[in-house]
Subunit: 295 residues, 2 copies
């Protein structure tokens, strides 16, 4: 039995390894900057190559492999999931929404390219993601992915997050926001990987439960890091949640209870994997990574 | 042989008839305003029910029927195409892009709901469109649709349109903008209708050629109407192209040559239909409607 630290280190290596291959595929799937409209293609690439853990591509790949998926189509989905994540970040950073100047230590898309281009770059990444998903030939996976991104998923979470800024909200609302804003796309990455591999419905249900738990844990850890870290460590403005009056776990239940909740979700995520017959070691290590990460 | 005026009147009736059925389906496919996030769902519905000719749904339906398509899945695509069109209009009207206050005689989405909600409403309509397309089970149609919407289609046209504002541009660039900004989604509506009906590749190629011709004609007529109509007739600001320094056909070749070009494209569109064995009367009448419309 490995310690949680060892598991986390293992996941970190796995993420780095998938990131390398996934990024080569981003380059292949993104339009070249020499094609018209050049500046828009440049803006799409700028945000796609601005760093990041590439967690969603890794979850797609790990799940696809775990369920015995074969062939190259998985890389269409790893690109699609990272494009959808990037699309949501670019629009979220816009002046009319979160009005953020930095993301991952670099200027946000609209600060670098202007607002009009940033709106379009987000739109274009979203549309390209569905074009790539179309190429997988799996319409059911597209339906599932779009639903988890919709107003019943990620977009619903972002909208509610915006609406609740500066208001006093209860824990149920924070749970709603966290689940939709963050966990839904993590769940989608797992579900798409499983569906492309041809996993059965029961296995897909198990993997989605795992995704909801690590997704919520991921966001709670994010909220904790926003308080305890420096801007340099985070690559984005630390303390910005408080400044914006964002609804967060620590602001309602305090730091210690938030840490306890993240640990509880970690345990739940491992339990969700128990029903699966395949080798779940990579997903277990990723769960460990998520609750021990420092940026 | 009917006159062009009679054909146009026939198309007008057909559009009105499809619009009624398509709008009932929009209502079914859009989230209810009682579901969270309520205001976002309200904003999505506001723009979807702000009127319009429902040209794209009619093209999907006419093509699907013409190629012998059977079943209800066509209505998933009619909703999807109108949602994608509405998504593009909402984002296009934003202050950072065209900064329009009125659309179809009503306040634009951001004037009514605020910028953040308008960005999200556009995003949500785009994502919901792909969810509905996923339900058709036709991944190839999704790929084709997304491509025509991408930076190589509609989004590419919009971006170039923005970049060329106030600049002196040549006719090739105006053609590029018109084709991408307007014709691409019209072509997509036809292609999706044909693909869902199971049309063969040669027929799809013919219908796409028809679409490119009527799409370009549609935009040229739009540019002409922007000059010769009043704001009341148009339901949006007349003369706004000139005011914004937009690249248009009339501004480069004059009104008369623009009218001649529209007529030439009309003839080309009918020629594209000649190779088809099926009854093309509805599409012929829609082409007549497009070049004779006054709003």
């Amino acid at each position: 039995m490995q310690s949680i630290k060892e598991e986390s280190a293992f996941a970190r290596d796995y993420l780095a390894q998938v990131a390398k291959e996934a990024e080569a595929k981003f380059d292949e799937h993104l339009p070249p900057v020499t094609d018209r409209p050049c500046r828009l293609h440049e803006a799409m690439r700028y945000s796609m190559f601005a760093g990041g853990k590439r967690l969603r591509p890794a979850l797609v790949k790990a799940t696809f492999d775990m369920f015995g998926g074969k062939g190259d189509k998985v890389w269409l989905a790893t690109s699609a999931l990272e494009m959808l994540h990037t699309f949501s970040l670019i629009h979220d950073d816009l002046p009319c929404i979160d009005n953020d100047d930095y993301r991952r230590g670099k200027l946000t898309n609209h600060k670098k390219f202007g607002e009009a281009t940033a709106v379009m770059a987000g739109d274009a990444l979203c549309v390209l993601a569905f074009e790539l998903m179309g190429k997988t030939g799996n319409a059911k996976a597209i339906e599932a992915l779009a639903h988890l991104l919709s107003t019943y998923g990620l977009i619903g979470g972002e909208m509610t997050d915006i609406e609740c800024e500066g208001k006093k909200v209860d824990l149920d609302t924070v749970d709603y926001i966290h689940y939709h804003k963050t966990a839904a796309l993590i769940e989608a990455a797992l579900q798409v990987g499983a569906m492309l591999a041809g996993a059965d419905d029961k296995s897909i249900e198990a993997i989605r439960n795992y995704g909801r738990s690590i997704g919520l844990a991921f966001q709670i850890v994010d909220d904790i890091l926003d308080i305890v870290s420096t801007t340099e460590e985070l690559g984005k403005d630390a303390g910005s949640d408080i400044e914006k009056g964002k609804a967060t776990y620590p602001s309602i239940v305090g730091l210690e209870n938030s840490r306890a909740k993240a640990k509880e979700l970690y345990d739940e995520s491992l339990k969700a994997l128990d029903s699966l017959k395949c080798d779940t070691s990579i997903l277990r290590s990723i769960a460990a990574f998520i609750i021990t990460r420092v940026n």
